[in-house]
């Protein structure tokens, strides 16, 4: 990776949800950098805090949630220092978003041309005519031909894959430096997912954009990302370059996750499985949050481990890993996947 400055610098980000039954630390002290032009994957399952992290950076966390501490510097500017108007100017311009469900991301009552034009016009970049030209170009760029007619149509006339392309086009209109995509292909059929992935890879290369790709799908990560953060129970538990992560996972959760994935190369067999469930975020364990499910847990894991360097561009939040141990060759039969109740 080049030694240029990061385009996004997140430090100690924490977001809480104040619910009736308790306070949930959805994001708990998360720090990471994103470099220009790179694709950073943030991987995790429900409750890991990956989506809330994105919403926190965008400052769009829905109530009863609130960012309670931390900074997020986009191109040097701390986003949490901005007022509402300042933040609005950043969104959709320097930093764009693609959300998971294309069926609900577009306003059903407005023509898609209008919605795309708005991305341009809301940032005072020019006249309506210029906006429409940019819109047509953007639609072409995402592979939608006869864009001029299409601009007059409504979202419900399109399939999921097409709508996602339109949302991507909307995100690209102002040539952002950073694109945040939250599970952009999860709601799509597998063959359409492949199309959209190919499209995104092409676009970010062409525009030299940084991409934060949030997903639970390790295959998508392997295909698109250069570097990965693994999140569990609101924290980053591992950080690594893509090849390193898959070859030599340095956190038991990563290791277990990779070993328990059903693969199309497997046939009719029993899978290794992680036992138990993610912790109740309203009542977190005091020590390592993965310990109760971890096949390598030891006494020391009753203390909460910090995220520390375990190698070249490698971090892990695990006492055992920080001691220098590796998990890659450990026996998969340790993952018996008993349901812990």
């Amino acid at each position: 990776m080049s030694q240029t400055d990061p385009i996004l610098r997140v430090r100690d980000l924490s977001t809480r949800f104040y619910a009736d039954f308790g306070v949930i630390d959805a994001v708990d002290g998360v720090s990471f950098d994103v470099y220009p032009g790179e694709t950073l994957g943030i991987v995790g399952e429900s409750g890991s805090g990956k989506s809330v992290t994105a919403l926190s950076i965008l400052r769009l966390v829905p109530p009863p949630g609130r960012v309670v501490s931390g900074t997020a510097e986009l191109d040097g500017q701390n986003l949490f220092d901005l007022d509402a108007e300042g933040m609005r100017r950043v969104r959709g311009a320097t930093m764009s978003t693609v959300f998971q469900n294309p069926m609900t991301s577009l306003n059903p009552a407005l023509r898609i041309g209008w919605q795309l034009d708005e991305a341009f016009l809301a940032h005072d970049r020019g006249t309506k005519a210029e906006a429409r030209d940019t819109t047509i170009d953007a639609l072409h760029a995402v592979g939608i031909s006869d864009a001029v007619q299409r601009a007059e149509s409504y979202p419900h006339e399109y399939s999921g894959g097409m709508r996602q392309r339109i949302v991507i086009a909307m995100g690209m209109i102002n040539n952002p430096q950073l694109l945040i995509a939250d599970e952009p292909t999860t709601a799509l059929d597998v063959t359409i997912q492949a199309q959209v992935m190919e499209l995104m890879v092409g676009l970010i290369e062409e525009h030299d954009m940084a991409l934060i790709l949030i997903t639970h799908n390790m295959g998508v990560v392997a295909n698109m990302c250069g570097r990965v953060l693994v999140m569990y129970a609101g924290e980053i538990v591992e950080e690594a370059l893509i090849d390193d992560l898959f070859e030599d996972p340095r956190h038991p959760y990563t290791w277990a996750l990779l070993r328990s994935l059903p693969s199309i190369e497997d046939v009719d067999k029993r899978l290794p499985a992680i036992e138990g469930f993610p912790p109740d975020m309203a009542d977190k364990p005091a020590g390592c949050r993965f310990a109760e499910r971890c096949p390598f847990a030891e006494e020391v894991c009753a203390n909460h481990p910090p995220l520390a360097e375990v190698g070249e561009q490698r971090k892990s939040r695990c006492w055992v890993a920080q001691r220098g141990e590796h998990f890659a060759d450990r026996d998969v039969s340790l993952l018996r996947g008993e349901v812990l109740e």
Binding site: R89, R91, T104, N107, H123
Partner: protein
């Protein structure tokens, strides 16, 4: 679109026929009939009574009587009022403009007050302004209409000279006079009505504001005004329009209290009086007109849905 509209119109006509039949047959349940009204109290002999009934065609089967009546209605003739002696058409002709004007003014004012307040309440949901608006309008809504009407009448006649007129002045005579005579009655109706519109607007706005496409709009940096008035409102409008259409139908014939208090010769009051006097032709005619208005306005609202919600257009 044209196909939908044509179907709607055909449906409408069928509904109106059905309503007319129901109105007519219900009318036959009222004790006595036209003959009783005309000559019953004058000590006529049973033979004279029967003769009158014969002449009026009241001995014919009900279906035939209905056919005669509806035939006249289609040609625009609702018959003659036995009480006033004038044609029913001219009676209604005098009452309809009054009620129509009052209804439209009340709807207009209540919408101008209700929708913006509803948007404001939604934007400040569960905070101070929301409570102020909701409690304030709820309070006003809870005041019985006759209390509000009489209080306004007293206050108006005493203190609001130029804004008050004790009698109804038709538009044809004087516009300012007309507005003066309509001012207080409109206020009496519009403000409680605004409470309903406000509440409906607020609820719909809140529901739409929570939708993912609003989050997406924010994420792309759309301006606040656009998010509120274009993205959200456009999606929230259809149920509000339905409500307005519904309110129109109810108001047109339902304002008899206000019309009585403010001495407005409208259809609400007219209908009550006609029922009391057993003025059958007038009662049936007024009911038909009210039913027709209701059905037509709601059909119009229905037709407007595909205009507002593109998903409902035939593709």
């Amino acid at each position: 679109m044209i196909r939908v509209a044509t179907e709607r119109i055909i449906g409408l006509v069928l509904v109106l026929f059905a309503v007319s039949a129901i109105v007519f047959f219900l009318g036959t349940f009222i004790p006595g009939d036209l003959a009783t009204v005309l000559v019953g109290s004058e000590g006529a002999t049973p033979e004279q009574f029967q003769e009158v009934r014969e002449r009026l065609g009241l001995n014919d089967p009900l279906v035939v009587q209905y056919g005669r009546w509806i035939g006249g209605v289609i040609q625009g003739d609702f018959g003659i009022s036995p009480i006033t002696g004038r044609s029913v058409n001219s009676e209604i002709g005098g009452q309809l403009p009054v009620s129509l004007e009052l209804t439209l003014l009340a709807l207009l004012v209540s919408t101008i007050i209700g929708i913006p307040l509803g948007i404001l309440a939604a934007v400040h949901a569960n905070r101070v302004w929301d409570f102020v608006i909701r409690i304030g309008l709820l309070f006003i809504f809870s005041i019985p209409i006759f209390v509000a009407g009489i209080v306004l009448l007293l206050v108006g006649s005493r203190y609001l000279g130029p804004l008050y007129s004790s009698t109804y002045i038709p538009l044809s005579e004087s516009v300012t006079g007309n507005l003066r005579s309509m001012f207080l009655p409109t206020v009496a109706i519009a403000i409680p009505l605004a409470a309903i519109t406000m509440q409906m607007t607020r609820t719909n706005m809140l529901e739409k504001m929570g939708q993912p496409y609003i989050t997406m709009a924010k994420a792309k940096g759309a301006k606040r005004r656009s998010i509120l008035y274009v993205h959200t409102l456009k999606n929230a409008m259809p149920p509000i329009l339905t409500l307005l259409g519904f309110q129109f139908g109810i108001l047109l014939g339902g304002l008899f209290v206000v019309e009585a208090i403010f001495s407005l010769p409208g259809m609400g009051r007219g209908l009550l009086v006609a029922i009391g006097q057993r003025d059958y032709p007038l009662v049936m005619a007024l009911t038909m007109v009210l039913a027709a208005a209701f059905v037509i306005v709601n059909a119009l609202v229905d037709i407007s849905y595909p205009v507002l919600d593109p998903r409902q257009r035939d593709s």
